[in-house]
Structures are given as C-alpha cells and as structure tokens.
Symmetry: C2
Subunit: 385 residues, 2 copies
C-alpha cells in the first residue's frame, strides 16, 4: 500500500453565499489545485460531496465541476455520508491512491441551503437521521443531541457551564479565522440568555446553518515529495459505524464508531492520543465536542466537560481542539466540513494558521461524524521532512 | 495491487414495489451475502447508492441498512453518479480491496420513485443533467438522447428500424427474465404505432421508470478462492468522464468517456473487444445501446445500428448484448442498474442464467453511464478456475 499525502487545500468564506454550491466548489477546487502547485490537468480523479444538492435541483455534480475545471474527461463521483461526506470522500481518494489506481486526486465538498426557509433547511438536515423512526416522529438533530447531553450530564455530572465553555472557546477561535461564519465574541451571560432549543441545549450550543465549500488535493507520497520540501502524510484514514438510531445503542454518552475509528487510526499510525498536537473535531453541538474528545481518547470518559471548562482544549492548552472555530464558530456547510477540517490542519502543520497557530504542531487529527454518529471518520496527519 | 472478485449477487424484481428503497436494498443485500456463502458479519465495509433517496426523505442510508443487517458498527457510504451510481460504488469497493484496506465489501443500489407523479419523477431524473444549462431550459433526457439519435442518423444513416430492433431484442430477452419489469413481446408494428416522445424516439425507445434494488459482494482473490471453486475476477474497473453538457462536446454520435473507459479496461485486462462473450450495456434509450456497442469497440463507428438489426447482438449472435433485457426491458431503477448488470453477468459466467444463458460465457463486460455520459464506468469480468 502506497503512502498518501495532502499537497494542497482551500476553503471559501463560510456563511451565506450568493453563488451556487457548484460555483463555490469549482472556485475552491481551483484554489486547492493552485495551492498544490498543480494545474487541473494533473488531477486523475475527483471525489465530490454535495449532500443537499437536491435543494438546488442538482445531482451528478462531478461532471459539471470537472468540465468547469477543463477536465471533463476525468472520472468523478459524489459521496454522501451526511455531515461526514467530504471526510468519507477523502477516504475514497486515499484508497484509490493507496491502491496505485491514481496518483493525484481532488476532493471537494460544498453546500448551499441559505436560499431555503429554516423549516425547509431543517427538513433536509433531518433526512440524515432515520426518517422512519426519528424524523417522521418529529425528532430533530438538536433533540437527538440534547438526549445525549442529558445522558452525559446524568452519568458524569457534566454541567451547563461546561457545555457553554466549548461554545465560548470556539467563538473565540473563530474570531481569529477570517473565513469563519460566526465572528462574534460569546460571553457566558449571552450564552445563558440565549433561548433553549432543546434542553439543555441553548441556541449557542448549536452550530449555524452555513453555506460554503472546501477542497483538498491528495497525492501519492512519491508525487508529494516531487512537489514539496516538507510533506503532510495521511498516517491513517479510518472509518467505522454506530447503530443508526439512538434507541438501538447501548450507550448515549459517546459515539461508539468514533471510539472504534480512533482506536484503529492510532493503531495504523503507530501512535497514541498523547502524541497529537492539534485536532479538529465534530462539534455540531457543544456536547458533540465533549463526547468527541473523550471518544478519541484525549480525555478519560466523563472528563471532557471538565477539561473544556479548565481550558485544556484552548489554543495554548494541553491539546488545542478546533482552533479554526469548529463547526460551532467557523460554520458547518455539511458536505464542506470534512475537507475544511483538512484545510485547517494542513495550514496548522505548515505553520500557516496565523493568529490561530498551534506552536510546533507536527501531528494532527481530524474527527468527523455523520448525523448522530452512524458514520464516523478519523484521520491522522503528520508533517515529515 | 490485489485481485478482486465477485463472490455473490442478487436483485429484486424490478417494476413497481410497495417497500421503500431501504427495505428493498436490505433484503437484496442479505440475499447477495447468502449467495456468497457469507453472513453479514463478514462484511468489512458497505457502499450504497440511492441517488433519489430525497424522494423518500432519506439520506445517509448506509447506517440504516447496516443496522438492519446487524452490522451497524461497519463503515458505509453512499455514492452517486446518476444512472451509473452503483457501478461507481463497485469501483470504490474494488479500490478498497485492491489497496488491502478491506477483504470483503458489500455494494447495493436501489431506488423507489413510483410513489411520485410522472412529473415529479421526471424532475428528479432531470437533476442528473446540468440544471443551469439543460434542465432549467426544459431539456429532458429523452430530448438529449433524441439529439444524439438525430446526429447518429444524419452521419451514419442509422434508421428508425435499427432503433426499433434494439427495443424488440431487449423486450424479447426480458421475457426470459423472471425479475424484469417489462415482460411483454414488442413487435415492429406496436413500436411504430407508439407515440413519439422526442423525435426520433418513440415511447418504446425509452426505458421505463422502475423501482428495485440489486447487490454485489466483492472479495479479495484470496478470500474468493477460499469461498468458491470457480472464481469470477474483476479484470478491470475503469472510469472516465465526458464534458457534462452536449453543447460542450465535439461529437454527439458517441460518448467519449465510454470509449476511453473501454480502451483503458481492455488495456488493464490485457484483452480486446473480440474476446468478450457477453455484455450488459447502458440502454436507457435504444440509441444509447447503439452508441455503447460502438464506443466499446464491438462494432466499428456507425455499424451499431446495422449489427443490431441483423441480430448480431441477440442471444446466440456474435456478441450477445443485454441478455437480461437491459435497462429497456429489465427496467432501470437508477441506482440499482450497475449492480444489476453485475448480477446478470455473474449468473451468465456461472452458467446460471436459465433461458437467457449465453453458451460457454467466460468473459463479460459491463458498461454503465451516468446521465448523457458525463460519468462512464466499464468493468470486465472473467471466470477462472
């Protein structure tokens, strides 16, 4: 199996955009290709994600973007894994390069939903849950994550202040990120005054609905060494699942698939959680970040809330988590999120993250889950000479 | 790179079904796993396709099917490539096994649209074309393929009778397939009397709207040899693209990506078109089969219509094409089609195709395209001892 490296990344400004997902993904793809020092003709195959393309009446987006890039002759597919779509797409590109089927692949994810009403957008999002057993009975993602938060509070004594600390940190990090959706300092007072969406989750526990796109160019290690002096290698690209609905799970205080994928990723990379310098994790809701840092193994089960409130996950803390602002602050254009995590970590590993820079970051971890964790993807990246 | 084999397949009855895509895909997946002599626990990763899941308000279908199969802990993704979705999914599973990342993978595709009105269903299908430049201007797939048919007629003298001969053959083959959607003999008279949908395409030049599902289990060659006395190996799994819209193409009398993917597939398999014993090709419209048999290289450019009318593609002919009945007769539940082609070819290679059996078939080819050929996938399968 061949080594696979990240050689270029890009992301659009997240928030409300006037362009379509296809336009945004095309522009961001071009930027990632330029970041890699390549031209579109160097791309062997493209892997796109645009889970809610139907909201713009567009499926089969690959040939459209490829054609706009001038490479209509190259193969493309679209990959959907709910909120972890572009991480899953990265895993597919990784497999093609690892197998020796391709040398250089483009991955891009994007979403545009801001032209819909909140009700329409929520209806699309709910399609990521089990429609028969969850969505059609009126359960939404805030409700599902609220159930997990209550279970976590009951078992481990996690508090509202601990949840709030995640939101406050990620808003604070997003203020340092010029491409972030929410660039507004959040105080404990404002958090507490914000409306309850689904107890115990306040408005500020929830990530925003964002438009945007992100792209990543992957290459075989051999190609990467031709292109760059320093390479960023994917040491592990692991996926796992969890029973689809909450009622089918033994435990609601964590995401089993995320724990399994993390364990496999560390085994493949030959390292452990203590060696990670910086991480981007899936914080669609504040409780999701607390569960993520426990599932990955940065903190013991039940310690995630305490660690957050004590600043251990801040930039400068023991393990900086979501320096980009995360889904909570940077925004969450569903299919862009996994690729956007790669963009942040690639910049961090190259020392190009500006005011968000984690000093001397050499090993990075990306954790991205679909829906309530039915799909989980964990990547480990390492900068090497 | 490791060898990859087909070890089990299944398909549902195509036509109008009462169950949902997720239910049908779950049942068909279980049958394919049983056909392989395996149990669900043997599956390492699953690759699903359900391009029009939104029509049932369901995305992120993987964890639902995995959970129903009792393997909620396994990773899954959904792959969309318009009408070639499950062929693209097979290519992804192939890459994972070839790379050594997985030993046994499940691929399943399914679709349910019969609960929609024809207008609603057509709207979904049109999302596979370029919405901005084609669908939103009122161009539908019958219109696009009609344009290609006119170009083919003008350049090569292809006739209405030649188009009709494809439909008559595929209806005749479908009569031998108990799982086919259209099981009705078609005469030249009935063809000519049927309404014109878009000149020169009559109603009987068009495949039906079908519900249904199909599934394939792939394994490494090593695993396959443990499971089976005779193996069916994937000698090539190649994909290519074509400029997305017809107006961007130099030539409308063939699909460039299909010709490129075919050429690459024969190169990888180390054989040529003359060595293929049986083929399933993408005949969403009769003209599509004529172009396909030329693009693959079974017949010289412009000779496809003549070959069809002279019976060279019939069961017993020089190269039997679509013995299953094809999309035209067997039906075309969009995301099921690629996997269903594999089902037919696997049965053919094992001599289990009943009254449709092509005598002594040893090498088979599957040709599946998305939309008007923006995405093209070609697989070559060979039975080996």
């Amino acid at each position: 199996m061949r080594g696979v490296c990240v050689v270029g990344t890009a992301m659009s400004r997240f928030g409300k955009m006037s362009e379509s997902a296809r336009e945004s993904m095309t522009m961001t793809s071009m930027k990632a290709i330029e970041d890699a020092g390549l031209s579109p003709g160097d791309i062997g195959a493209a892997f796109y994600s645009n889970a809610f393309g139907v909201a713009e009446r567009q499926l089969h987006i690959g040939p459209l973007i490829n054609s706009a890039l001038g490479i209509g002759d190259r193969p493309s597919i679209a990959i959907e894994s709910a909120c972890s779509s572009s991480s899953a797409a990265i895993n597919e590109a990784y497999a093609h390069i690892a197998a020796g089927l391709e040398d250089i692949c483009l991955v891009a994810g994007g979403e545009k939903l801001s032209h819909l009403s909140t009700m329409e957008a929520t209806t699309y999002f709910a399609m990521g849950s089990d429609y028969t057993y969850e969505a059609s009975n009126g359960v939404t993602f805030p409700g599902l994550y609220a159930s997990m938060a209550v279970a976590h509070m009951n078992r481990y004594g996690t508090t509202q202040e601990m949840l709030a600390s995640v939101a406050i940190k990620n808003h604070s990090n997003a203020l340092l990120n010029p491409l972030a959706h929410l660039r507004k300092k959040l105080t404990m007072e404002a958090y507490k005054e914000s409306p309850v969406v689904a107890y115990p989750l306040h408005l500020y526990d929830c990530c925003p609905f964002s438009d945007g796109s992100a792209a990543v160019v992957l290459a075989s290690e051999e190609k990467a060494r031709e292109l760059k002096d320093e390479i960023v290698r994917i040491e592990a690209s692991e996926r796992a699942g969890t029973a689809a609905t909450l009622q089918d799970r033994r435990d609601m205080t964590g995401i089993e698939g995320a724990a399994v994928a993390s364990k496999r990723a560390f085994a493949r990379a030959g390292m452990d959680a203590a060696e990670v310098d910086v991480a981007e994790v899936h914080d669609c809701f504040t409780i999701a970040e607390i569960m993520a840092i426990e599932d990955i193994g940065f903190f013991r089960k039940g310690e995630g809330g305490r660690a957050s409130v004590e600043g251990e996950t801040a930039i400068g803390g023991r393990i900086p988590v979501n320096p980009s602002g995360g889904l909570k602050g940077k925004g969450h254009p569903v299919s862009a999120t996994g690729a956007a995590q790669f963009h942040e970590l690639y910049e961090q590993l190259l020392g190009k993250a500006g005011r968000r820079q984690v000093d001397g970051a050499e090993v990075a971890l990306a954790h991205n889950i679909g829906a309530t964790g039915g799909s989980c993807t964990v990547h480990i990246l390492r900068r090497r000479r």
